[in-house]
Amino acid sequence: MVVLLSLKNEEIAKAVKDGKVVILKADTPSKIMPSTGKVVVITIKRSET
């Protein structure tokens, strides 16, 4: 959780300020589709090594 709290990048901070729900998820094959309300899905891409 400490890691997450340090993830206050501009995109997240702006979405929170705008009253949007933020969903952070890793780069996975799943799909999150906003249905109603204000929602921002931020996908964390895995870096290629």
Binding site: M1, V2, L4, L5, I12, A15, V16, G19, K20, V21, V22, I23, L24, K25, A26, T28, P29, S30, K31, I32, M33, P34, S35, T36, G37, K38, V39, V41
Partner: protein
């Protein structure tokens, strides 16, 4: 014992995959929203057998925040709409599930933060067995084999056992 354990023979022969998905959710005060969640590909099935909700925290301070004004509603193909308040008895423990999500019929999750001054952050993890839709009937039959086996334990004429189903699947 979880579903992935029972389906291990199918995972081994490539008929199913076992994985989990975690996402972090940040809920500003006075927000509610709904999302649909499921596989990106048509023809795939997510069979969710376990959910774990993390501890809700104040996004700004990191302090644990239990409040019945912060809650989820969710449904799946085989799961009724139900309420998940982010309270102590619900979070931090495994919640058994047995429901599926597909492109056509995804899981629906509604997030609510009815507080007026607290931005909340929490994480949630779905444990999944994924397979092809065309295999769904066989997998259901395979699982039913276990149920029949245990129900019929000690009785004469036990109907399809898992072993027979594995053989059938491998041939198929």
């Amino acid at each position: 014992m979880n579903m992935a354990f029972w389906l291990a023979p199918l995972i081994r022969i490539g008929k199913a995959k076992h994985w989990k998905e975690t996402f972090y959710v940040i809920l500003p005060p006075n927000t509610s929203t709904a999302v649909r969640w499921g596989p990106r590909q048509y023809g795939r099935v997510y069979h969710v057998y376990k959910l774990r909700l993390g501890t809700p925290r104040n996004y700004n301070t990191g302090e644990v925040t239990y409040n019945d004004k912060i809650y989820l509603w969710m449904r799946g193909k085989e799961m009724e709409w139900h309420w998940h308040p982010l309270l102590e008895s619900v979070t931090g423990t495994d919640i058994p599930m047995d429901t599926t999500a597909t492109q056509r019929d995804p899981m629906i999750i509604e997030y609510h933060n009815d507080t007026t001054d607290t931005t909340v952050v929490f994480d949630m993890t779905f444990h999944i067995v994924e397979y092809n839709e065309v295999d769904e009937r066989l997998i259901q039959e395979f699982m039913r084999g276990f149920i029949n086996y245990f129900l019929g334990y000690g009785k004469i004429g036990v109907v399809p056992t898992p072993e027979r189903m594995i053989k059938k699947l491998i041939r198929w």
